[in-house]
C-alpha cells in the first residue's frame, strides 16, 4: 500500500512534534510504501534539518505554513465570483456560531444540524477547487474582496451578536488568520502524482495537518485516517485566551477551528485518539463513535526490562517521584503528604528526581527545596554520623540514579502528584519497571493504570499520604500491584502494540474502500486479488503480463504488478517480530 503520511510541524523535522512515534511507525511498517507530506511550522524548524528516513519512504514533500508567496495570478470576473461565493459561504458559517454547540446558530436558526457542516464543507472544497483551477488563492485571501465579504457576512441577518460588533481591525485579523489556516489549499499535492496516488492518507494530527487529507479525499477519494495524541481544538482554545484578541476574533476563529475539526472527523474513515480524554473531545466534536479506535501511545519497554524482571531490591521505605519539575506537578502537595507519611512511617524517605522545566520550574524547585528544608530537619543515624534530609532532590544522570530505570528502581513506591496531566508517561514507565504506584486522578491516569495502582484525587495530600502508607506497610501488595502493572503496560503500551494496531487499521480501511485500480489479465479479464495490500511480499501474485488500469496514476499497484521478478523478499520474522 502507498500511504501518504501528513504531518504538521512534526516528522521528519529534527525538532518536530511526535517525530519519535512517526519514525517508529514508518520503520515498523516496512511492508508499506510511505510518502511523507510535511508542513513546517517555522523557518527555524526548516533550518534545523530532517531526520534520516528509511528506504521505503519513497518521497518527501514539504511546504511552509509560516509563509506564503503570492503567485501573482489575478482573478478574472468568473474566478472572482467563485471566490466570493465560496468565501462568503465560509464566512457565513463562521458568523453563525460554533460547531460543537449541538444546535447551529444562537437561535437554532431552524436548520438541521448537518446543514451548517455541509455549507462549511462545500465552501472549503469550493476554495480548494478554485485554488487548483486558477491558483492565486493566497492573494485572494489577502485581498480587499475577502475582507469585504467577511464584513458582509458579519452584518448579515442571523449572524452572531458578537460578530455584528466586528470592527475593521477584527475583520483584518480574522481574514489574516483564515489566510494562514487555508494555506494548505494552495499546495500542489493533490494531483495524481501526489496524494491522489496514495491508497490511504494518515494524518498524524487533526486540524491543519488533516486538511491536505480532507482535500485528497475530496479530489481523489483517498480514505483518511486521523491520529490525535492531543486535541488540536483544545490547544487552540488554550492558546487563544481572552487576552490574545477581541471576542469577535476569538469567536470567529473558534467557529472556524470547530467546524474544521468536525469536518475532519466527519470525513475520516477511522479516527484514532491516543487516550480516552482525546476520545471524549472527538466524540464531543461530532466524531462517530463507531469509527473511533483508541490506540495508546507505545513506549520503549526494553530499557526497563532489567529492572522490571529483577526482584525488588529497593529500599522498602523509599518513595520516588520522577518527572519534569514544574508547578503543575504539585510537589508541594507531595511534600505535605510526605510529612503525614512520616508520622505513620518515621523511616520513610522521599526522592524527587528530575530537572526543572524552564525558569518557572526552577523557581518552583527552589520553593520546594525551601519547603522541604522547613518541614523536615536533617537526620542522622546516631550522634556521631553526619545527617541529611529525608527528602532528596536529584537529577537523572547523577551518581545515585544514572538512568531512568535506576531512578524508578530505587523506590518501593512511585508517586505521581500532578494536578494537570495529559498522558502520564512517567507513570507508564514506572509500570514497565514493575513498581507499585500512587497517583492523582488527572488526565489519562486512571485509563493508564487500570486497577494496578492506587489513585487518589488531586490536591489531596492526606489521601495521597494514606495510600502511600498503605503500600509502604504492605510489601506483598506492592509486589502484586507491581507485577500487575508491568503486565498491563507490556500489554497496552509497547511500541509493538502501537504499530500492530495501525497495521490492522490500515488493512481495515483499505478493505472497506472500493478498489480504485483494477488489474487486467492478458485476456482483458479483471484479476481479483491481483493487488496485494502489502507491497513487499515474498511471493509472486500475478503473471508478468498483467496490465494495470489505474485511475489514479502510478501507484503501488502498477509498480508491484509490472515488476517481472518477485519483489524484494523481506524476512517475515524481521517484520513481525519485536521491533
Amino acid at each position: 500500500m502507498r500511504i501518504g503520511l501528513l504531518t504538521e510541524g512534526g516528522y521528519p523535522y529534527v525538532s518536530g512534534d511526535a517525530r519519535l512515534w512517526c519514525d517508529r511507525l514508518v520503520r515498523g511498517l516496512g511492508r508499506h510504501e510511505f510518502d511523507i507530506y510535511a508542513l513546517s511550522r517555522s523557518r527555524r524548524q526548516e533550518d534545523e534539518g530532517r531526520l534520516e528516513l528509511p528506504p521505503h519512504v519513497s518521497r518527501v514533500r514539504t511546504a511552509p505554513l509560516w509563509t506564503a508567496e503570492e503567485d501573482g495570478a489575478a482573478y478574472g470576473r468568473r474566478a472572482r465570483r467563485r471566490f466570493v461565493e465560496s468565501y462568503g459561504e465560509l464566512a457565513g458559517v463562521l458568523c453563525a456560531g460554533p460547531a460543537a454547540d449541538g444546535a447551529d446558530g444562537p437561535d437554532g436558526s431552524g436548520a438541521e444540524p448537518g446543514h451548517m457542516a455541509d455549507r462549511f464543507g462545500s465552501a472549503l472544497y469550493g476554495l480548494a477547487e478554485l485554488a487548483r483551477d486558477e491558483g492565486g488563492l493566497v492573494g485572494a485571501l489577502r485581498s480587499d474582496t475577502a475582507v469585504r465579504t467577511l464584513e458582509r457576512a458579519c452584518r448579515a441577518p442571523g449572524a452572531l451578536g458578537t460578530a455584528r460588533e466586528a470592527r475593521v481591525p477584527d475583520l483584518l485579523a480574522v481574514a489574516a488568520h483564515l489566510e494562514r489556516a487555508l494555506r494548505p489549499l494552495s499546495l500542489d499535492w493533490y494531483g495524481d502524482d501526489g496524494l491522489g496516488a496514495a491508497d490511504l492518507c494518515h494524518a498524524t494530527a487533526g486540524g491543519t495537518a488533516a486538511l491536505p487529507g480532507l482535500l485528497a479525499r475530496h479530489f481523489s477519494d483517498v480514505p483518511l485516517l486521523v491520529t490525535e495524541y492531543g486535541v488540536p481544538l483544545r490547544s487552540h482554545y488554550l492558546a487563544s485566551g481572552p487576552d490574545t484578541a477581541t471576542p469577535v476574533v476569538r469567536a470567529l476563529l473558534a467557529a472556524f477551528h470547530g467546524r474544521l475539526t468536525a469536518e475532519v472527523y466527519g470525513r475520516a474513515a477511522i479516527i484514532t485518539p491516543g487516550n480516552a480524554h482525546a476520545r471524549r473531545w472527538q466524540e464531543r466534536c461530532g466524531a462517530d463513535r463507531a469509527r473511533i479506535r483508541t490506540v495508546h501511545p507505545g513506549m520503549e519497554a526494553s530499557r526497563f526490562t532489567e529492572v522490571g524482571e529483577a526482584p525488588d531490591r529497593a529500599d522498602p521505605d523509599t518513595l520516588v517521584w520522577v518527572g519534569r519539575i514544574e508547578p503543575s506537578k504539585d510537589l508541594v502537595s507531595l511534600l505535605h503528604a510526605f510529612a503525614e507519611v512520616r508520622r505513620e512511617a518515621p523511616k520513610a524517605r522521599l526522592r524527587v528526581l528530575g530537572a526543572p522545566a524552564g525558569p518557572e520550574g526552577e523557581a518552583y524547585l527552589g520553593h520546594c527545596k525551601a519547603l522541604a528544608a522547613q518541614l523536615f530537619p536533617d537526620e542522622a543515624e546516631g550522634v556521631h554520623a553526619v545527617g541529611d534530609n529525608p527528602v532528596a532532590f536529584e537529577e537523572i544522570g547523577g551518581p545515585e540514579a544514572p538512568t531512568l530505570a535506576h531512578a524508578y528502581a530505587s523506590g518501593a513506591v512511585v508517586v505521581l502528584s500532578s494536578v494537570v496531566e495529559g498522558f502520564p508517561v512517567g507513570l507508564v514507565e514506572a509500570m514497565f519497571c514493575g513498581r507499585a504506584t500512587v497517583s492523582t486522578d488527572v488526565g489519562a491516569v486512571v485509563e493508564a493504570i487500570g486497577g494496578t495502582g492506587l489513585v487518589v484525587p488531586p490536591r489531596n495530600p492526606r489521601a495521597l499520604a494514606e495510600a502511600c502508607v498503605a503500600l509502604l506497610r504492605d510489601p506483598e501488595r506492592r509486589e502484586r500491584l507491581g507485577a500487575a502493572a508491568r503486565a498491563r503496560a507490556l500489554e497496552l503500551f509497547t511500541i509493538e502494540q502501537n504499530i500492530t494496531a495501525f497495521h490492522g487499521i490500515y488493512l481495515e480501511i483499505v478493505s472497506h474502500c472500493p478498489v480504485r485500480r483494477v488489474v487486467l489479465s492478458a485476456a482483458g479479464e479483471p484479476l481479483p486479488f491481483a493487488v496485494p495490500a502489502e507491497a513487499h511480499i515474498p511471493v509472486r501474485w500475478t503473471g508478468p503480463t498483467a496490465r494495470v488500469v489505474a485511475r489514479g496514476g502510478p501507484g503501488w499497484a502498477s509498480a508491484a504488478a509490472n515488476r517481472p521478478a518477485p519483489v524484494r523478499a523481506t524476512p517475515l520474522a524481521a517484520a513481525e517480530g519485536p521491533l
Binding site: P98, H336, L371, D441
Partner: protein
Amino acid sequence: MNGGEDGATGAAPGELDRPGQPGGADAWDARSQEWLLGTEEDASGDPFSRGESPVSAGVAPEIRAAAVKDTAADSRGTIPRRGGADPVKVLMHRHRVLCERAVDPLEIAAGLEAHGVTDRAAVRFRHRDVFSLAEELYARVPREAGPRPEPAPAPRVRADWVLLTLLPGAVCAAVVTGVRLTEGRPRLLVAVAGVLAVALAVRPALRRGPLAPARALAWRTATGARVWTCWLLAYALFGNGLLRTVADGGPDGLPTGAAYGPWPVTVAPVLALTLACAPAAWSAHLLTAAARRRLAGSRGLEEFTAAVQPLLLGVFVLFLSALTALLALCGAALGEPAGCPEALALGALLLLARLLTVHHVTQGPAQALAAAAAAEAAAMALVLAGRLPGCAFLAVPVDALVDAWGAGSVPAVVCGVAALALLIRATRTLTRASAHAPTGDPE
C-alpha cells in the same frame, strides 16, 4: 496552562494553577491543620475540598476500600465541609473571568480541564462530564467583553530612519560640489564615485523605516523597479540636454557636467529628488500612522475608506509642496533652471510607486515606471530616427512638443501621465483596509 481566570486575586495567567507555594516556615502547620480540621476558606479552596469525601471520586478498585475507610474517618473525626445547595456557584466564582469571556462552552471546558477539573470532578457538580458542566457555566454567567486588547502600536518616528533618509541628499550635495570644484579627468572620477555613493546611500533609506515594504518583494519585481527608476533619474540628468542638442543637430561631445555646453546636464532636479527622500519618508510615515489610527477607530470598511481618501491626497500634496520648495532651493543654489514641472512629475511618480509597494500593492508600480521609461526612450529614439532619410515625419510630434514647451515637456508629460495613473490606482487601493493590515508572519 493558559487561563488567568482568577479575577478575584488578580493572578497572572498560569498563576492560578500553581499549587499553593509555601509562604513561610509555618507552611506545613497552618495548612495541615486546615486540612485536618476542614476550616479552609471556600473561595481559596478547590472542588475537592468540599463535598462528602475527598476520595470518593477514585475509580480504581484498589481505592474503593480506601474511600470507604476515609469516609468513615471523615464522619467520625472532622467537621463536614460546607457543601451548599449549589456547588456550581463556587466554581462559577472561581472561574468567573474564564466564563465571562469565553466565546463558547468548549472554551470553558478546555479551561476547566487545564485547571484539573476532570469528568469525575464534574460528577460532584451533578454533571455527566466536563462538557455539560461547562455548558451550564456558559449559560449561567453573563458574557462580558472585557477590555479591548490594545491595537497594534502605530509605527514610531525613529532616529535611524530619519537620519538615513537625510543621507542620500547630503551625499548628492557633496558630490555636486565635488563635481563643480574639479575639472577634466578628476571630475569624471568624482562623478562616477558620486553616482555609486548616492546609490549606496539610497539603499538603506529604502530598506528601513516607512519606505521599506513590510513583506519581502519578489526578486523580479524589485529589480525591475530599480532598473526603471535608475533610467528615469538618468534621463532627468542627461535627457533634456540631449533632446535639445539632438533637435539642434548635436550632440557634438560628451557631457562635461556643466549646465551649459555641448550636452548640458541638469543637476538641480536630481539633487532635489535625492533631498526629497526625507519628505517622502515623512509622508509615508504620516500616511501609515494616521491610517493605523483610523483603522482602530473604524466600524466599517466604507467608513475607513472615506476617512483615508482625503488623508492620502493631503499627504501627496504635502510631498509635492516640499519637493517644489526643494527644487526652487536647488535651482537657486546651483544657478540652474529648476526644471520644475518634469521634476515634480517624476517625484510624484516615484513617491506613488513606493507607497504602493510599501502597502503591498504589487500590480501597478513597476508597470507604470517601466511605461514611463519606455516612453522617454521612445521619444529620444523617434527624434534620432527622424534624421534618417525619408523618416523625418517620425520626429514631428516630439519636435512640435519641444518647440512649443521646451525639452522638459517630454518627461513632464510622460511622468505626469504615469503618475496620474498611479494616483488613481492609489486612491482605489491604498484607501482599502487590507492595504493597511498589519502583516508579519511569525517565523
